[in-house]
């Protein structure tokens, strides 16, 4: 493994512009997540929005979402993630995408 100054994810996320809407466009049912041994969303979400809780569930915050779809595609539990787009004009605003 090389030695390099790792930019923490928070530093990367601070470079991204969001217009946060009032409605949570993604809803995670943590009670379903408790039975999931993989919790792939924690690894794969590029914005790092899925966090394991001490009781084995998932804590999720929609506010800094890239709206990419990774979470529901890697999720293997029916009904854990309800996924929609934010209301028009809200959500991530990429300027150099």
């Amino acid at each position: 493994m090389n030695c390099y100054p790792l930019i923490p994810l928070e530093g990367l996320m601070s470079t991204v512009n969001f217009r946060v809407g009032k409605r949570a466009h993604i809803i995670v049912d943590s009670s379903v997540c408790m039975g999931c041994s993989l919790q792939s969303c924690v690894t794969a979400c590029p914005a790092g929005l899925f966090v394991r809780t001490s009781d084995g569930g998932i804590l999720f915050n929609y506010e800094q979402c890239f709206e990419c779809g990774t979470c529901y595609m890697v999720c293997n539990a029916e009904g854990a993630i309800t996924w929609t787009y934010p209301d028009g004009g809200n959500g991530v605003v990429f300027h150099r995408g």
């Binding site: 790792l6 590029p46 790092g48 529901y72 150099r96």
Partner: protein, 437 residues
């Protein structure tokens, strides 16, 4: 509501390259078009590998290169094969690519998509941003007759709806026209746009003026199938990785950590020294190609661009914007003819598929249909990068006073060390020849 009462001739959902091209073709044919975009401006939600191959724009505008919002024209293109400590690079440059009509250009999607949507508006399309199309409207027979949007009194009717709503393809999926999304058919693209002074970029990449470079990378993705890319913009460079979604999910490695490791590679780090992050972003890529494409035309509905899985992910070719534009123009043209003929049923819209088969969009996809699987195959991803680097290293390592071994001896030695059977090697070469012939 009957077809003749429709408010618009066509509604196009998504003002990305597919949607704007479709709206442009319809507006130019004299039809009323509503172009819906959920972002505050076209391009706000879009992220890609950074290079657009623009010749398809000849059909949009003559001399498009004089006004397209380009960052740099790609005159230098390299393919880099990495292991943790080695790099083999094939580096090509051409003066021809530095003048019109050019070959590839780097551009930001916020600039490019806004520009292309502007062309549709100039032609007469009505662009409405900050508006999500949440559902397709259908009549008793199942025929698509419009869209529902997230605005008050939000049911809008049209003779044809063209869904260009991107890789998640939510409209068509919700209506059952596209099967549920499979992680195995997708890759996650993650990238960092990094600030560097223009003259530093010119010097490090051997460029001047508006010349640009694009490097694609095999290996260097922490053992996750995929690849990387590094290219130059005017005063930023972009470093990104494309990661097989199921393998990323199973890896336990975070996407930003994969980029961080690639950034630190000795062959990459020297390009990036002193750079600061301007923007971090990510997007899904439909990578399964021809064999995973859904049906493209239905009663009152066409699908184009990533909504129909039209990105070509064939290793040395990773192209999507040109395919989206080509498909969008064909969809708009076919919809216009169907409207004129008074028949926008699936049968009336079948000209779309024929047009795609006659041009590069489906011709390339069909010819290269086996390429995505080959590119993501285990030996190509995990064995051959180190195999070829070790072969080249032993070829160039001077081992005096031991006499030089012959190339065949070297090849056999390296193959044995990597446990590559010659049978598999020859088989893979033949397979590659068949896939790309």
């Amino acid at each position: 509501m009957t077809e003749a009462d429709a408010t618009f001739d066509a509604i196009v959902v998504g003002a990305g390259p597919a949607g704007s091209a479709a709206a442009l073709a319809l507006a130019r044919a004299g039809h009323s078009v509503l172009l819906l975009e959920r972002g505050a401006f076209p391009g706000a939600k879009n992220v890609y590998g950074g290079v657009i191959y623009g010749r398809v724009l000849d059909q949009v505008l003559p001399r498009w290169w004089e006004e397209v919002p380009v960052q740099r024209w790609v005159v230098r293109r390299a393919t880099m094969v990495l292991t943790g400590t080695q790099a083999l690079t094939i580096d090509f440059r051409s003066e021809a690519w530095g003048s019109a009509p050019y070959n590839g250009m780097t551009a930001y999607r916020a600039d490019f998509d806004r520009w292309l949507a502007g062309k549709a508006v100039e032609a007469g399309a009505r662009l409405v941003t900050s508006t999500v199309a949440t559902d397709l409207l259908r009549d008793e027979s199942g025929r698509v007759v419009g869209v529902r949007v997230d605005r008050p009194d939000g049911d809008l009717s049209a003779r044809v709806v063209i869904a260009c709503d991107g890789v998640n393809s939510l409209l068509a999926r919700r209506a059952g026209f596209v099967p549920p999304a499979a992680a195995a058919h997708h890759a996650l693209g993650v990238k960092e746009v990094l600030r560097l002074p223009r003259e530093v970029i010119d010097e490090r990449f051997g460029l001047r003026g508006n010349e640009g470079m694009n490097i694609e990378i095999l290996g260097g993705t922490a053992g996750i199938a995929g690849g990387g890319f590094l290219h130059t913009n005017i005063d930023t460079v972009t470093l990104g990785v494309v990661l097989s979604l199921p393998q990323l999910a199973a890896s336990g490695t975070r996407p930003e950590a994969v980029i961080a490791e690639l950034k630190a590679h000795t062959a990459i780090a020297r390009y990036l020294r002193g750079a600061t992050v301007a923007e971090y972003s990510a997007h899904l890529i439909p990578e399964a190609g021809y064999d995973a494409m859904p049906a493209l035309h239905h009663d009152g509905l066409l699908l184009a661009g990533d909504a129909a899985g039209m990105t070509l992910a064939a290793g040395i070719w990773l192209e999507g914007v040109n395919f989206a534009i080509g498909a969008g123009l064909a969809a708009g043209g076919a919809a216009a003819r169907a409207i004129e003929a008074g028949n926008t049923s699936a049968r009336g819209l079948a000209g779309y598929r024929q047009a795609l088969e006659a041009n590069f969009v489906l011709a390339d996809h069909k010819r290269l249909r086996r390429a995505p699987a080959l590119v993501l195959s285990r030996r190509l991803q995990t064995v051959y990068p180190s195999f070829i680097n070790d072969f080249v290293e032993s070829m160039f390592t001077v081992s005096n006073p031991v006499p030089k071994p012959g190339f065949l001896r070297l090849l056999l030695d390296v193959a044995r060390r990597h446990r590559v059977r010659l049978r598999d090697l020859v088989g893979d070469v033949l397979r590659a020849v068949r896939v790309y012939r």
